[in-house]
Symmetry: C2
Subunit: 557 residues, 2 copies
């Protein structure tokens, strides 16, 4: 083997140098250190982005590089086109305008909640080619393998003139994006709310950043994890009681993640009341991988919670988090350091339980929030809701779940198991049943030409399904038929539930595969809102000692 003398091995470095030279030509006269004038942003993007580039436009679960998104969407598609966007969340209209205007053509992403319908339409009209829908950590992983961004447009709270970035509490995806881009000779441009002499702390070193621009307005940020306790129903209280007594206490769950929603908010609000009355303080829910949910405040104040590491932050929780530094990960400046990549890894490998909701569950236990005409993605749920088969450390919860799973197979190698709980009411809004014979995901896959139906959590990763009718423990099912009947057995008055084999379901109940509230010693009449440690947002503020400052839309006072 002799090296091919003609082959160039630094094309990416040359490309980077050429882009930076064009940038200096376009905006250099007004460049101060790395600081670009806001009115020059279009010229900068045109100078550094080439047609066909892989571009990450930081769209997070919460904070949004909205100024850069608008600037990208305003470029001339004759000059900048066929971009391949690789970003975790599509949240802003501009994220799709880019495709509609012909600037971008291909997309790899994780979540598109608010834009799911428009995304499906654009796919249908062949204006967007979707590479794949990922769980967050999977997308970040591909940044280091086959989807490394050539240009990344990211978002921070502040920068100094050298380009050191301060993200404040919403670090989110930024470290993963910037590391992958900067160390493969890509270009990193950050929009910041302010340029300061010295940043309060360095979240991203200046070395890794090429340009910073002060956006005319502070970046958009969504308070995604706030749930008003006033909207929690008594059915949700009942389900939360079952989760606490029938699963958390039963397995001794110490380390966990909660999906977003009122169901899990109810659990959080029952910890200092119902769970405390069962003597569970210090025995369950000590360590969390979780955004700083306002609904967790009463449990923190009651001393239930030892630690919380977060994917991102939550608007209004800044002062409270800073005042509870024993619990949260915070920096020398007092504000939180979140990190979606590490928190997803923690959710996968260091938590014993994930509990979340879904829109549909089929007879095998597969669940999905995908419905026809909407391409939403699943964010982190697929990662947290998967058995971590690489895990090797034991905990009582993990060992017990593993024992239950293997009770059938004698002589098999013993192995632990993650608890993955789907918590749904049997009927959703508008009386749509949560249990179905066939997931809408099949139809969506057909419509959109996907290789596989978009399943959020596969049935064989789910361990428990919890409804107002009871808990189905799928670990204890010996056959596919038992599994189906266990699911029907908690599906209530939905068509799936009504079609159950009553004798088999009663047999499953005798064996403890299905447990009704009565089997758990829970009296549904006691499941009232009085059990909630906070019944309003104002109660949460009070519990926080006035430190939680909810966004205006959650205040009615």
């Amino acid at each position: 083997m002799t090296p091919d003398a003609a082959k160039q091995w630094d094309t990416s470095t040359r490309s980077r140098q050429a882009r930076l030279a064009r940038a200096r030509q376009a905006v250099g006269a007004r460049l101060r250190d790395k600081q670009v004038q806001p009115e020059d942003i279009g010229a900068l993007l045109s100078a550094v982005i080439e047609p066909g580039d892989r571009v990450c436009l930081e769209g997070n679960n919460q904070k949004q590089a909205d100024f850069l998104a608008a600037a990208l969407a305003a470029l001339d598609p004759a000059q900048v086109h066929d971009l391949h966007m690789v970003q975790s969340v599509l949240a802003l209209p501009e994220h799709l305008d880019i495709f509609e205007r012909g600037i971008a053509a291909r997309l790899d992403f994780s979540f598109s909640g608010p834009q799911a319908q428009r995304l499906a339409k654009l796919v249908d009209a062949r204006r967007i080619q979707i590479g794949a829908i990922h769980t967050y950590l999977e997308l970040f992983s591909r940044y280091f393998v086959d989807l490394t961004p050539r240009v990344s447009l990211v978002c921070a709270q502040a920068a100094d003139a050298q380009g050191n970035l301060y993200t404040g509490p919403n670090t989110e995806d930024t470290p993963a994006i910037v590391e992958a881009t900067a160390f493969r000779r890509g270009i990193v441009i950050a929009q910041v709310n302010e340029i300061v002499d010295t940043v309060p702390r360095v979240d991203i070193p200046a070395d890794w950043v090429d340009f910073v621009v002060q956006s005319p307005r502070p970046h958009f940020i969504e308070p995604l994890f706030t749930r008003d306790p006033a909207l929690i129903s008594e059915i949700q209280v009942l389900m939360a009681m079952m989760a606490i007594k029938g699963i958390y206490a039963e397995y001794g769950v110490q380390r966990l993640n909660h999906g977003i929603g009122f169901d899990t908010a109810a659990i959080e609000l029952l910890l200092p009341t119902y769970a405390a009355s069962l003597g569970l303080k210090g025995k369950i829910c000590r360590h969390w991988a979780l955004n700083p949910h306002p609904a967790l405040i009463p449990a923190i104040e009651a001393g239930f919670v030892e630690s919380v590491h977060s994917f991102g932050s939550e608007l209004g929780m800044e002062s409270y988090v800073a005042a509870r530094s024993d619990v949260f990960f915070t920096g020398a400046d007092g504000s939180m350091r979140s990190n979606r990549a590490f928190c997803q890894a923690a959710g996968h490998y260091a938590c014993d339980l994930f509990i979340g909701s879904t829109l549909q569950i089929d007879l095998q236990g597969n669940s999905s929030t995908a419905t026809r005409g909407r391409i939403a993605g699943f964010g982190g749920a697929s990662n947290m809701g998967a058995d971590a088969r690489g895990r090797r450390h034991a905990s009582p919860a993990w060992l017990r779940a593993g024992q239950e799973a293997q009770a059938g197979g004698a002589g098999a190698m013993p192995r632990g198991r993650k608890l993955v709980v789907q918590m749904v009411e049997t009927f959703r809004e508008h009386m749509a049943p949560a249990f179905v014979e066939t997931l809408d995901a099949w139809g969506l896959a057909e419509d959109m030409g996907m290789e596989l139906p978009p399943v959020m959590i596969y049935g064989d990763d789910v361990t428990h399904i919890l409804t107002e009718e009871g808990i189905a423990n799928l670990l204890l099912c010996r056959t596919a038929e038992e599994r189906e009947q266990a699911i029907r057995g908690v599906a209530g008055y939905t068509p799936v539930g009504l079609a159950r084999d009553r004798r088999m379901v009663e047999n499953l109940r005798d064996r403890g595969v299905i447990r009704r509230p009565a089997d758990l010693g829970i009296d549904p009449r006691l499941a009232t809102r009085d059990l909630l440690a906070a019944r309003t947002v104002k109660d949460l503020v009070r519990a926080s000692g006035g430190r939680y400052q909810p966004p205006r839309r959650f205040r009615n006072w």
Copy 2:
């Protein structure tokens, strides 16, 4: 709920302040910025470490904080004792001296290769209590949940006076350790080879570091991934041919990780010769999660490889990596940026195949390198060798493996599958059979009081077993009995192999479950060392254009 007025919420901040105050008292007079004098290191450690602390002493796969390890081991156990060590690798004698001397009592780790025997003895003598053995990413994950270090002793190439760290190519675990510690108000102390005015690039921001100390000698670093091609046998060449033709080409494997060893080095060295002759260039092995293996040089030079992201680096590869920046992740200073956390995530979520070796495989396909009297751990293999059940993006290799796995279950939800290949010769050194009825791991678990036998990769995560006898495709096995016979069928003349049911094995061969070299169109007579793209270390140097500079122990010229 009203907050408990008496409860303090900043005990960790106060503890940090008290430790820093003690440090200033102990070494402050000679402190320059964050720079501690080497002779003060013992006083500093005594000042900041308290009995019972959770401490991370950076022991990586390669670089070692050896100066800090020696200093920690030399502390007075009357003053510093009962530490809980949380570190990925136990590599140095000092890592165990700490326990022998009574300074530390408890251990959570990932890998202890060179110290495995001594570790087992100390456990047996009840001098060490092992929490658990983890895969790397799992341990890092726990740093953010329930194993956050209170004090971390890390290792870098250089620092400036402010404490900015430059890790050079061996970043490895450092970012994960420092982020978890610094943002939970722990203390971070870094040993560096040199203090400079300006670091070549910032790998860890100064904000996150409390003290730096220049070690009297450069830190120890192990060239762990170098395999001398001269030691590759013709059996290994044959097995490599089978891997390439029977698995890589068959599934179209583009993104992968190779375990360490001569078996995989042989595959790497056959890419530009045998694989190229099959027309596979551009069709397989384009993207890697891999340390910069010297054995990969010929494949890189032949244009097989588009990208390599690395856990750590490899001694001697510095100039070569810098000269091949299109392939590797490098910084503005030209040297590599590795990152074990991100590379493990990439191996888990963005690779279609993991191939590695083991010491023992049982009849269910469970494999382990654990043997009686040695507690070694598995490093990254358990993470890479696990089906990534949270993965949602499709690739041809992943879809095909998923289809094969589900061929039995009609109507089931289709799902992809990771390829996990165990590659072993039927007999190891000293004629020890690689195939066994019962893993030694069972006995080790009993001896050491472990909750579960230490299995490296569980049988139901393994898709193929490859020996000199052929490839057993476990995905195609319909029953546990078929699986057992498929394994016996490639176990050759080991007792496990001799006990096979010949008729069933022939039937499995007819169905393509077992494929012999002849079934793959491979003539074993052509499996000679002539096929290796490099047959000596000198060949590798030549292939690199003189850029690869192997450590002395690999040179015989």
